[in-house]
């Protein structure tokens, strides 16, 4: 790729962050996945074919990095009688969108991942199916069910009401 890498960060940074947040929860793990994604992308950038769909390529890299981080998190998990205090994975309170992220985190895993890679990441249902298994039709249903569940959230419509005021 001959394009300055900075342009890719500017153009796709927000999309990749949304995907990481939907997969890992809005918090430090998602930030780490974002960093690992763009660092890996920077490493491969000069060798990347000019015809590559950068958006979709970055979403796939983000998927691998998110899986790595989720595995690491599972390895470090220690069974315990009482819950330790943890940094919230729900984003910054008062940021306005944390309720919606919490609702995303509460979705069944397949709905959450279909939402992450298809709805937020912009991959086709078939491409999403390659990443998370199952058929394109099943991914389509999972994404639609996920969106339907989110529609029940009052914060889902908040931006629109805010804009009309």
């Amino acid at each position: 790729m001959n394009e300055p890498f900075e342009k890719a960060v500017q153009r796709h940074g927000a999309t990749v962050l949304r995907v990481c947040r939907a997969v890992l929860g809005a918090g430090p793990d998602a930030d780490d996945a974002w960093s690992e994604t763009f660092l890996a992308a920077l490493r491969s950038w000069p060798d990347l074919d000019e015809a590559t769909n950068v958006d979709a390529w970055l979403v796939r890299v983000a998927k691998r990095k998110a899986v790595d981080i989720a595995r690491k998190r599972a390895r470090h998990a220690v069974p315990t009688g009482e819950l330790p205090e943890q940094p919230s994975r729900a984003g910054i309170p008062g940021a306005g969108d944390h309720e919606l992220w919490q609702a995303v985190a509460a979705l069944p895993e397949r709905q959450r991942l279909a939402l992450a890679y298809h709805y937020l990441g912009g991959l086709a249902h078939a491409e999403t199916a390659e990443l998370i298994g199952g058929s394109a039709a099943a991914v389509r249903r999972a994404a639609a069910d996920g969106i339907k569940a989110l529609r029940q959230q009052p914060s889902f419509d908040e931006p629109r009401r805010g804009a009309d005021r």
């Binding site: 962050l17 920077l42 490493r43 969108d97 931006p159 629109r160």
Partner: protein
């Protein structure tokens, strides 16, 4: 490069509420913080080949770019910063990131120059973007002292090729490090300005600045 389109595969079934951009806003502050982290990591892992920033100056916004070797490009806005970055990506490396901190020493020296307190630059330079005779001329230019000028003809003689006046002209016109490499101190034999990559108003402003100090 394909721009993001809403007509691509898989996009047609997004709900109509305004899309993820509006429903899942990501603040510029958060992205800035992640960007700073990315630049630090990239630098640690030696993946930051070209760092750049822009500064304001009395001759308009300037783009500054550096490699590990040193300052590689100073560009005037009229050159088109996008085009300048594209050229750096092609000619040096596409591993280009905006990194204001990395260019701080350069920004400081330029600020001192523009306020008249600095008369010569103490910066490592990367001459990668010019070759051959042009680079030879550009390496000679810092020897023209602050507030002094030479003619294209004098410069040609000093680099040992007195008949290469036109080539000296094009070496100055293509100087990738204007201001720092002072091609603005080279004039026509009749005292008229000749050309300048930053425009004649910028050349005049720099000469006036140096005369006043």
């Amino acid at each position: 490069m394909t721009e993001k389109t809403e007509s691509g595969p898989g996009r047609e079934e997004r709900p109509g509420e305004g899309g993820p951009e509006r429903l899942f806003p990501v603040s510029a502050t958060e992205l800035d913080r992640l960007h700073i982290r990315l630049v630090e990591r990239a630098q640690d892992e030696e993946l930051l080949d070209v760092a750049y920033r822009t500064i304001d100056s009395p001759v308009g916004p300037l783009l500054l770019a550096a490699t590990a070797k040193g300052l590689v490009r100073v560009a005037y806005q009229r050159e088109g910063f996008e085009a300048v970055l594209d050229t750096l990506a092609t000619r040096v490396s596409p591993r280009v990131l905006e990194s204001p901190a990395r260019l701080d020493p350069v920004a400081t020296e330029l600020e001192e120059y523009f306020t008249g307190t600095r008369h010569s630059f103490d910066l490592a330079l990367d001459h990668t973007l010019s070759t051959g005779f042009r680079q030879l001329v550009q390496r000679h230019l810092p020897q023209i002292g602050y507030g002094h000028t030479q003619t294209y003809q004098q410069v040609a003689a000093l680099v040992g090729n007195p008949r290469a006046v036109r080539a000296v002209g094009s070496a100055c016109a293509t100087n990738p490090l204007p201001v720092v490499v002072p091609c603005h101190r080279v004039l026509r034999t009749d005292g008229s300005l000749g050309g300048y990559i930053g425009g004649l108003a910028a050349k005049t402003a720099l000469l006036d600045l140096e005369r006043a100090a």
